[in-house]
Assembly symmetry: C2
Homo-oligomer: 206 residues x 2
Amino acid sequence: MARTKRTGRRSGNPDTRSEILGAARRLFADEGFESVSMRRIAGEAGVDPSLIHHYFGSKDELFMAAIEIPFDPAPEVAAVLKEGGVEGAGRRLVHAFVTIWDGPHHDKLLAVVRTSLSKPAMAFVLRQLFEHRIVKTVESSLGDQVDHVPVRANFIASQVFGLVVTRYILKLEPLASLDEAQLAETVGPTIDRYLTMPVEHLLRES
Amino acid sequence: MARTKRTGRRSGNPDTRSEILGAARRLFADEGFESVSMRRIAGEAGVDPSLIHHYFGSKDELFMAAIEIPFDPAPEVAAVLKEGGVEGAGRRLVHAFVTIWDGPHHDKLLAVVRTSLSKPAMAFVLRQLFEHRIVKTVESSLGDQVDHVPVRANFIASQVFGLVVTRYILKLEPLASLDEAQLAETVGPTIDRYLTMPVEHLLRES
């Protein structure tokens, strides 16, 4: 009788999935994405590591699920940057970004940002998403044309997060009512400047 | 015996102050800064309007107290913009902004921003602060040199709020470790561009 076979329920139980997610969130927030292994998360959740692969595939995919982001932004960023290279990259990036934010994922994306900005542990997790997914994607897409990508990515993030806050949270007008082409044209050149301005003097000796 | 004279306690009671603040917060959030009178707030709080003037002075000061902002940013913005006009205004603005945020008001400012970004009613209040204090201050400081200040102020806010989020909440590195002069030099030109770029085509017919 399957209903009483408690030990057998584990692999197919929706609770297993949420136990893995809970363990992943705690460990990613406490120790960081890089230093936590899949095996460690499985141990914390009390499940076999193969179950994590079964439910989530890769560690990246588990991470996206743990922070409840509705999709992985990295492939989108890669596609936008590779098409055309550094020339006009700012406009294309802002256009794609606004199109995604104005689309069906809007509510979930906003929830991720609100949570990240109000809870320090989640801010740490969002920073990791940025550092381990976005910065690396920009490096692999534009690294042959642009130097010091990590520091430039900080400035780009400062403009892009500010766009999220003012357009989607504070809803400043007319910014909240402009379309993606208008924002690409006005904010895109800011991104282009951050991709090309001198930054060597900002790097600390290490 | 003063301790039993209940009716007399009202004017000197710390509760009166918090009742006024609570009423002001509710009304500002529900109906907006412009449409709510001091008399209306007094009525909601169940106190004489003269008590609001006694505790808070002007409606602007009551508003700052209601949103728990540690000081009024408008005079700072006015001082920075008037000194030197539009030439180099971006650098001066970013320098002053970062200096204030890195100073003793840091924790309280961060609390205001965190609350505003996580609670929609508070976001509405922060938008009002922006529209009724900051935009008007920029208009009175630079209005003779810069056209269409309200739309430009939106873009400036998008960069400045993004700096708050990435430097003070997400703490992206190296952005979080740069000093005010480095940020003025890198982010200042973005503000200058927003003060001078063409914006006529972004204005909606009304």
